[in-house]
Amino acid sequence: MNGWDELDRFLRTDPRDVGCDKAMELLHVYVELVARHPDAARERYPGIAVHLRACGPCNEDFEGLLAAVADSI
């Protein structure tokens, strides 16, 4: 990805984005669904999927919780 694409990707906003609070509120539910059916998770919770792509800190928490769930399986 070049600088133009990177800047464009960074500045683009998606109206479906639910924000950090809502994403964190449902993160445990979303993570379990992702662990079983990733496509279904994105389809059922598009606003969370969009948010996690745009928000580095929330995505970091998502990755951490997903790793914890994977470790426990």
Binding site: R12, V18, C20, V31, E32, D61
Partner: protein, 223 residues
């Protein structure tokens, strides 16, 4: 930003339908005596394991040493334990109980690392650092003439279109690389408020660059 996804109520399962392991956790933690104490001890051990794993997972990107990482993990596990016990009645059976409690550990680690940033920041929030932006975005220095006008327009838009709060947060996160959680701590706010401010700033900046002809729908065709 929208709230179109299904909410808590729509996901809610009855506790009667919770899996057997989750139901057992709720029964023992909600009980009393030696059985409850043993459950609390088991829960703490789980939270400490998850917090420790999470700290180690993030460690390569942190400026923390081994003992400091252990401290963060222990503090996160202790605070997560208190939070889980205080909020036990809020568990709705939407996930396994353990997944729900793992979240407390991960979020406590996240919050503590955000606060930790300012112990040895070396990054004042004041001042701007536009020279590093081309490199961060991946612009090739050899093609400076191609992107110079774009970034000059971006800088003008930051100065002219953003509110003081939006500019302050944009500068901290984008130009200085301060983590959003650390920005929230420094400004006495929370991650959601910082994200919302950046969301509005990003939208304004993109609109300004599109209006100026610097970005458009066909940008991906540019190589």
């Amino acid at each position: 930003m929208a709230a179109s996804d299904r909410g808590i109520g729509e996901n809610q399962a009855t506790l009667a339908s919770a899996d057997a392991e989750s139901a057992e956790w709720l029964r023992t933690l909600g009980g009393s005596g030696a059985e409850r104490e043993a459950a609390v001890e088991r829960l703490h051990a789980i939270l400490l394991r998850v917090a420790g794993n999470e700290v180690r997972r993030r460690a390569p990107r942190l400026r923390l040493s081994g003992p400091e990482l252990d401290d963060v993990a222990h503090q996160a596990a202790a605070d997560a334990l208190l939070a889980v016990i205080a909020k036990l009645g809020q568990f709705r059976g939407e996930s396994r109980f353990t997944t729900w409690v793992y979240k407390f550990a991960v979020l406590e680690v996240s919050a503590k690392l955000g606060r930790h940033f300012w112990r040895d920041p070396g990054v004042p929030l004041e001042g701007e650092d536009w020279e590093r932006l081309p490199g961060r975005l991946g612009f090739d220095p050899a093609e400076r003439s191609e992107w110079h006008d774009l970034l000059a327009a971006l800088r003008r838009a930051v100065d002219e279109e953003l509110t003081e709060r939006q500019r302050q947060i944009f500068v901290a996160i984008v130009l200085k690389g301060v983590p959003a959680d650390a920005v929230a701590v420094e400004l006495g706010t929370n991650r959601n408020a910082v994200y919302k401010t950046m969301f509005d700033a990003r939208r304004k900046l993109r609109a300004a660059l599109v209006a100026g002809g610097y970005l458009d729908i066909g940008i991906r065709g540019r190589s």
